[in-house]
Symmetry: C2
Subunit: 207 residues, 2 copies
Amino acid sequence: MNSTLILASASPRRRELLAQAGYLFEVQASSVDESRRSGEDAIRFATRLAREKAQEVFALRQSSADPTLVLGADTVVVCDGEILGKPVDAADATRMLLLLSGRTHHVVTGVAVVAGELLVEVAAEVTQVTVRTLSPQEIADYVVGGEPMDKAGAYAIQGYAARWIPRISGCYFNVVGLPLALVASLLEGVEFRLASQTIPARSLSLG
Amino acid sequence: MNSTLILASASPRRRELLAQAGYLFEVQASSVDESRRSGEDAIRFATRLAREKAQEVFALRQSSADPTLVLGADTVVVCDGEILGKPVDAADATRMLLLLSGRTHHVVTGVAVVAGELLVEVAAEVTQVTVRTLSPQEIADYVVGGEPMDKAGAYAIQGYAARWIPRISGCYFNVVGLPLALVASLLEGVEFRLASQTIPARSLSLG
């Protein structure tokens, strides 16, 4: 990869995953409004936010001399028709964990790669996650421990909640927050489109 | 848990997973012969080794005053009818990765909990893992990097190979080396049996 890769996310989990998969990148968090529009389903919501995050950071980098690829991502949990983001407080975390207990839910991550105004790739990954039945005491202890607070759906599969999750179906890294195989494939596609163009992406993005 | 938990494994991944799930434990590696008996299938092989590892370490702890639970585990990969352990050298790692490329395989971990001669619980977890097609260059670079060498099936899902694995079906932690939900359930079962006995496990094991 010859372009500079920017991860438009403040999440330490996404940073760790992208580094684990061998990518070299910079981090620049976006400041987009993360509220959901009425009638927007989980996939539309997560992919719109991913695109907005990546486009905002791409716009901030317009002045950069190097060609830039910006990666945005947003993760939500869907259970029993309800879309769960990060809990707002301990009571909200408890409510979410009670909802997930003994059920199978879906984790949806929207991913966007932006390399110019006309070079935007967006996709979503969906993973099915089964949580065993949790006792009220287990939920209370987990919430007091603090792990749920900055996680969509109020749990971290890569944390203490690991022992409560006997099975998933789909991409594991999606559940942590960044579907690595999908990201690799999107980045390869955009790199290929960049390489096969006579006009550099930077010119394209300047319109 | 009132008993001392011992992990009978030298694997740093198993140690990290068990700590992540919130367990307090000691580590004592076993020295059992890990060769497969003729005609032994993957589940029998992995569960026998898990039990032998745990029983060996339990026997070494006989003199300990505290009641002890010993956890043993063994992981193998099954692809296209072939059982893969750790590669013996770089050529063997390359051969295994060529076999896994573009295919779905199974990861089998045998788990055993030993708390006395009559208190032995054994189980196995099987997870289906899909690997995308790998180029000869990708395989060569990965083998040179050294990650495959001490891993069953010559890859680490929690490492660089993450980007090659778009989906799994089953327990993720099993693929790393220790199925945490299964381990939690076995430990709870053995603790319950210990708690409901009038004779302490230590006396049983000396019987």
